[in-house]
């Protein structure tokens, strides 16, 4: 399952989510502002606390709303 790490009031997070929806990609949203476990998982994955982070396998991830990289990772 594709995961998107986000925070509230984050325009780039909104863009990623909108883009995934437009491509019919199912994803789970994890708000690292609201959930301690998600925050830890995001930090463990990326070594930082910046969002949006999109990951397919909890190993490879794309930072920010970068269409090209998202397409490559998701095979779009």
């Amino acid at each position: 399952m594709v995961k998107v790490y986000s925070i509230t009031q984050c325009p780039w997070c909104d863009k990623v989510k909108k883009y995934l929806k437009s491509k019919n990609v199912e994803f789970e949203e994890h708000n690292i502002e609201e959930n301690d476990a998600d925050r830890e998982a995001c930090y463990k994955l990326t070594g930082d606390l910046v969002v949006p982070i999109t990951t397919v396998n909890d190993k490879d991830y794309v930072l920010s709303f970068d269409k090209e990289k998202l397409d490559a990772m998701l095979g779009l």
């Binding site: 009031q9 606390l49 969002v51 949006p52 920010s64």
Partner: protein, 181 residues
């Protein structure tokens, strides 16, 4: 009316009296959003780490009255947001800092320390003034806050002793802070 008479709200919505900071040296800053191109957050955090054990507190007040990013940096706008602004000092509720809608604390701060001009040597000064002239000409008039990251230094007795414009980077005011600690 003094600085310790003000009550503000933290980013979590809890009321906080500035009287709780009596005896501390304070750096009060209007900050940009957590998604803009904002290298001053990092420098403020560095100052905080360096001096907090000696009695410095930094109080950040996010404000949306200025454009999202620094002027002249459109080319390199970062497309991500940072949790908690990437800082560990206190961030307060988002609110206005200039014009009629300004929070009372900021009306007080600018009444204590007016605008005396930008730092002419800072690389962004020229661009900032040009951007203000074009987009918000009235921002250049009077003592109100001109842009993100205006900093007010308050001594241990609560006196507002200095104002630094956005064009003075946080690391450049370390000596002024040390004098008060």
């Amino acid at each position: 009316m003094g600085i310790y008479d003000f009550v503000v709200k933290t980013s979590k919505g809890e009321e906080k009296s500035l009287a709780d900071y009596k005896g501390k040296v304070l750096l009060i800053v209007n900050t940009a959003s957590k998604c803009g191109f904002t290298p001053q957050f990092k420098e403020l955090q560095d100052l905080y780490m360096k001096y907090k054990d000696k009695g410095l507190e930094i109080l950040g007040f996010p404000c949306n009255q200025f454009a999202e990013q620094d002027p002249g940096t459109n080319e390199e706008v970062q497309q991500f947001c940072r949790l908690n602004y990437g800082v560990t000092f206190q961030i307060f509720e988002k609110g206005d800092v200039r014009d009629e809608t300004a929070q009372p604390l900021f009306k007080y701060l600018v009444s204590q320390k007016g605008f005396e001009g930008f730092d002419a040597n800072h690389p962004i000064t020229e661009k900032l003034v040009a951007a203000l002239k074009e987009n918000f000409p009235h921002f250049l008039e009077g003592d109100d806050i001109k842009w993100n990251f205006t900093k007010f230094l308050v001594d241990r007795e609560g006196n507002v002793v200095a104002r630094f414009e956005p064009t003075t980077v946080p690391s450049a005011i370390a000596a002024d802070i040390e004098k008060l600690l």
